[in-house]
Amino acid sequence: MITFQVRARLAAALLAVAAGAFVVPVAAAHGPDPVLSGGLFAQSQSLEFRWRAGAEPPAAIRTAIRAAADDIGTTRASKAATFVYDSAGANPIGYGAGATCGVNGLACFTRSAPSGFTLWLREQGHAFDWGTLRWCQMYTTAPNGCYDAETISLDEFGHVEILNHHVNYSDDRDYDDAVVQTFSRTKPGTGWNMHVLGRCDVATLQREYDVLSWTTDYSTCLDIDTVLTLSASPASIAADASTTLTAALKVVDRDTYERLGGNPVSSRIVKLQRRSVGATTWVAVGTMSAGASGTYSLAVRLARSSEFRAIFSTPADEGLNGDTSPTVTVSVSGCTDPCPLSAGR
């Protein structure tokens, strides 16, 4: 079962190829993984797999494949599909005999999103020009030169989701940023036994399937602009009364952000600053309390009219860019500035 919808952004490139131009969709090095053609699965769709009759993997490989399925579930940080073993599952995973892989590679797949997929792993002992395939899991003590079946299965599950091979820097210093790699590594090479999705795998999964929740961290392989707005309610108060400043933090709604565009961004640190009307220096008021759906609020008592702004600083541990809200003025009536009892409020 194979699906053949060509995604819009790929179509233009393919048309160019058809027209003779030597154009191939290429991702910039170190960016999120490029994507395959074809459709997506539903958000958080559960894909049940079974072992293919007559081509069932040996126990050690079965364990590795199931572990890789768990790895997807625990590290996807997105609403990408999940993979679950079910003896009656619709999606067969085979091993060795009958594999319809091409001539190269350790494993292969077909994807027909949203209906399903197939997956094959080569058998232990498969002969390639360079030598004989050895799966680390087939040994009590894995020898150097073996391939980790969990890592390779994780790579294949990533392909099934939509991920194409990560485009590395020329010196491969970012190899660990993705498990979905063109070149697999053997023990003990760096990354030979990655059992988590890399940040640039996650980046594409987030872009294509959306983040798991508004509180989910955005992959540091992304470079996402945010927009922060601020409002006051009420915007006019009597002296020494309170008003609540409410900020809303969202991802900028750009087409290139795909499913991430316009997302509320919750549970981050948003700070409020204040200055008197006409002043130039901002003074910290405090950290706003995180509410639902990317909102942040803080109540303040004021004795005189003030300007406020909210600030979301660029975090070091995720791929969001900070933003500063426009200035909001809260008008205070009932006394003449300076109010004798305001004492700095």
Partner: protein, 371 residues
């Protein structure tokens, strides 16, 4: 496929032995009696050889506790000869059929041995051995030579492509040097041969883990063209002017291109599932591929023209790809392709394979196509 009288001309280079019987029968299924083909001799396999013999093979790894211990080769002739199983070493291959003959290579860890099987005549002939590992081989269109890709037994270093004359056993020459290392492709995982249907061009494709490069030898003038684009992957087939290759995908569907041998210019043929290249009765090459999830087929000339769609097989059979992907080969008349369960040549299942003719889609049982 051109007519060939290869065996008639083979002369002393061919040492007729029941070589395949030397392989341990342990690689066959429990209780399965191995076929021990007798040596071919006399007129048993001589005479004009035409495409469309109906000969077929399927090769599968034989596993024990998940580890390859050998391979099982099953051969037959559609509608005429029932399947016969042969056990091969773990490192082994089958190629063809070439006008009814199947080229078999098997390596026991000490030496590689090449044999030609004739399922119709029920015999085999050893055609050569080597202390290096013969990874793949093919027959020349004239049937007078075997082309072998070899690697060093100890280091697995590429030793190039060698031409072994079937007329003179001492005439073994290197046709192509080892392919140059290229970091864009990485170590070579597989090397495959493919002929244009007119036998004028030979493609030798060397694949890294994902991307492949091809050297195309024009047998008319001996020239060699390199197609080395890391965006390209597995070879599907060729004619004199074009290679049909996939993008460097690990899965399907995958973009399929016709690449001009002269200048590398690509023509997109579409996103493809299984794919093959065949020639019609007039010798014109067609790419045939699954165009959609239901197994609907599209045939298209290699210049991108004359695209014709065929409906899916009503039994759900899928296009059987070339041997490098499907592990099976058939020798049908020009213009015919084969479909089978899961894209595999399975003759003892509940639903047998079928042959379809392109571009008109005429469909017949596989056993009937060669009659």
């Amino acid at each position: 496929m051109v007519e060939s009288r290869w065996f008639r001309r083979a002369g002393p280079g061919v040492v007729a032995l029941g070589a395949l019987a030397l392989v341990a029968s342990a690689t066959l299924a429990a209780g399965e009696r191995p076929w021990v083909p007798p040596p071919c001799a006399g007129d048993a396999i001589t005479g004009p050889i035409r495409a469309g013999s109906g000969a077929w093979f399927r090769i599968d790894p034989k596993l024990e506790s998940g580890e390859r211990r050998g391979q099982r080769l099953v051969v037959g002739v559609a509608g005429r000869v029932r399947s016969r199983a042969i056990g091969l070493d773990s490192e082994s291959f089958a190629a063809g059929p070439f006008g009814g003959r199947i080229l078999v290579g098997t390596d026991d860890g000490l030496a590689s041995r090449l044999s030609l099987l004739d399922p119709a005549a029920g015999c085999a002939a050893t055609i050569g051995t080597a202390s290096d590992v013969i990874r793949r081989a093919t027959l020349s269109p004239a049937g007078d030579a075997v082309l072998e890709f070899r690697v060093d037994r100890r280091t697995r270093a590429d030793l190039g492509v060698w031409r072994r004359s079937l007329r003179d056993p001492g005439d073994v020459r290197r046709l192509l040097p080892p392919i140059r290392p290229d970091g864009r492709f990485g170590p070579t995982w597989s090397t495959e041969f493919a002929w244009s249907h007119d036998g004028a061009a030979l493609a030798v494709q060397s694949c890294g883990e994902a991307a492949c490069r091809s050297r195309v030898v024009d047998l008319r003038d001996g020239s060699v063209r390199d197609i080395a684009d890391p965006e390209l992957g597995e070879l599907v087939g060729l004619d004199r002017e074009h290679l049909v290759v996939r993008s460097a995908c690990r899965g399907l569907p995958c973009p399929l291109y016709a690449v001009a041998i002269a200048d590398g210019r690509r023509t997109s043929l579409g996103d493809a599932g299984a794919a093959t290249v065949t020639a019609d009765a007039a010798g014109r090459a067609w790419a045939v591929f699954e165009r959609d999830a239901s197994g609907g087929l599209r045939s298209v000339r290699l210049d991108g023209s004359a695209a014709t769609d065929l409906p899916p097989d009503p039994s759900g059979l899928r296009l059987i790809a070339p041997a490098s992907r499907s592990g099976s080969g058939t020798d049908l008349a020009p213009g015919w392709i084969v479909t089978g369960p899961d894209g595999r040549l399975l003759l003892d299942g509940p639903v047998g394979p079928r042959a379809r003719r392109v571009p008109d889609g005429l469909t017949v049982p596989f056993e009937e196509v060669s009659r």
